[in-house]
Symmetry: C2
């Protein structure tokens, strides 16, 4: 089976990197649409840094700050209409996965009149507003992927638009914006990133390049487990988590995700469990499932964390995630039935059946 690697986004890393490479933003166009959420970009300094650079570059901007957590298809269409009304030349996304994923759909829909019925088909022309992304959490990796994950009420789940046209042109990684993240957001997003790198290594599309990125990502995140647990992350650890999440994004841009993500989407859609947390709740049990047929691969992953057994990994995640939600047998059956029909299942190096998914859910929730 041939393997592929592609990730064309230019990444700029380090404190004050937006101001330090202001010419890169200047080259993007005369007028920007800034896509963000209601609050965080105003609090963590990222919005101010961006607008200061735009102003000093003599670039205009408008702000679309209506992106909610787990953004909807409707939100993307609203943002695209706003972009067209304001005749913007490019899009700047600031925030966690929600503003970044919404911004990709907005950049696409602002240039192309794509009806909702075919939005998730992935077959569009090349036209898209160029994008610069500024993550303010260290989890999603959306700044280096071609995916826009939107909540799709018609399908009653999260659905992804995937197209090479959605790779941002630029990603600015400045860990100062994560300094005041809450412990729970820090943990949930770090576990999301970890899940990307682990799942990337459990994908049939994993190759040497994605593995090298995934292994370093796993090493970096696990080196921060102790400080995450103690809520004592210094700036250099925030930076490790941020770079690890970008590495994880580069991984899934090439491998896709696995059963963990498709199972987790139901926890998020129906039970409002945070996306990263949902992955973290399921990850160890999925690893145990894969270990039965592919123990060497799982050993490689555990080695990166300095662990010997999946049980140790499970206990470690339990400590980070705290008390678990309760979930009924009926919910498990329903979520497993949904997940088994997703593309993510055949993407696993060890393909689970529906009864395996039920067992992974049950093991995850200690039922």
């Amino acid at each position: 089976m041939n393997k592929f690697y592609h990730m064309p986004t230019k990444i700029i890393m380090g404190d004050n990197c937006i101001a330090g490479s202001s010419g890169l933003l200047a080259a993007m166009g005369a007028k920007a649409l800034i896509v963000t959420g209601r609050h965080s970009a105003r609090i963590n300094g990222s919005l101010e840094d961006v607008t200061a650079v735009l102003t000093s570059n003599n670039q205009q901007y408008v702000i679309f700050d209506k992106v909610m957590a787990n953004p909807t298809v409707e939100c993307a269409y609203e943002g695209a209409a706003f972009a067209r009304e304001n005749s913007v030349d490019f899009v700047i996304a600031i925030g966690g996965g929600s503003p970044m994923d919404a911004a990709k759909a907005i950049a696409l829909l602002a240039k192309q009149d794509i009806k909702e019925e075919v939005l998730f088909s992935g077959s569009y022309a090349q036209e898209v507003l160029p994008m610069a992304f500024i993550p303010t959490t260290a989890g999603t990796g959306s700044e280096v992927t071609q995916y826009s994950i939107l909540t799709n009420h018609k399908a009653q789940t999260k659905t992804s638009i995937a197209s090479p046209v959605l790779f941002p042109k630029l990603a600015f990684l400045d860990a100062r914006y994560m300094a005041a993240l809450s412990p729970s957001t820090t943990v949930n997003t770090a576990i999301d990133a970890l899940s990307h790198s682990v799942e990337g290594m459990l994908s049939v599309r994993a190759g040497t390049i994605s593995d090298s990125l995934a292994m370093e990502s796993i090493r970096l995140i696990s080196s921060c487990f102790g400080a995450m647990q103690a809520n004592s992350l210094e700036h250099n650890m925030r930076e490790k988590l941020l770079y690890a999440s970008t590495l994880g994004g580069m991984v899934i841009a090439n491998t896709g995700t696995t059963a963990v993500h498709s199972m987790g989407y139901s926890l998020t859609y129906y039970r409002d469990v945070d996306h990263g947390r949902a992955n973290g709740l399921l990850l160890a049990a999925f690893l145990a499932f894969v270990e039965k047929s592919l123990p060497e691969r799982v050993k490689t992953i555990l080695d990166c964390m300095g662990l010997k057994q999946v049980e140790e990994f499970s206990a470690l995640l339990d400590g980070l995630l705290g008390e678990k939600e309760t979930i009924s047998a009926q919910e498990i059956d329903s979520y497993s039935a949904r997940a088994i029909n997703t593309k993510n299942i055949s993407n696993c190096i060890a393909v689970p059946g529906q009864e395996d998914l039920v067992k992974i859910f049950r093991d995850s929730f200690r039922m």
Copy 2:
């Protein structure tokens, strides 16, 4: 200091990957210029694979097979004239570093009338013929870099053109083409790749992403040292070396090279020492120089090879490279004086003075 990462080439990996992704070549245009050397592409099967796919895609092609080892500026201009005469739409390079580096300059000069006086300035428009690269040695990594290294008789050295427009669109990695490489070519090219990854970790531009790629590259190459020494490389090891060389290319695309390359260019230009061998002759002594001020960094590199001491690394390279050339004190002084004025020197995390370069040369040749 902010760090950057960018490598937009799409990579396709695995046996028969050109035929397996023939649609990617089909999308490049109606008529190809194939740039290669006189012989090897005809012997190792790569040229036949490419022309079969082009024929089945109904694409036309012409072949420019005049690229010599260490291609000259004149060769690039000749190839560009041939490309224009034949009105080609895109360039396919097949070969080691020489055809690939020449092909980049040809693709650029075919679209833009750049005079030789400004060819090495790096400031050109975006226009370039799109490129698909097929390495047939596992060393240079040119398939994923923005560099074209040409022998420049006016400057009496090898000089690089560096521009983001020179990144190939596609790189096809098929290790079957390396099956019959001679032991010396195998060693020299593998050491070139190793040098890229090691030097990338010793560059001031090294960052988390380039490090993750470099470390895996070093691990992969060192896992093949024994088989290289015994001349018993199986297909899976050829594949490891090929992927490691591409990882090394991704590294130097972002870090550049260091003193080792600038010193080695004189050995190649004046003494006709193979490029990879030249790097290998100098690498351990440079590592010893860096170790004096930055022992932790050197330890990280040695760890990837399972080694404890620079001396072990030096002995290992001695075993692979065999008897060394003799070189005079006068040559060393002259080459050191040339190297100290190159950009590569300030790119080192431990910056050598001219007397350090003399000592590295002397240590390398046991003088």
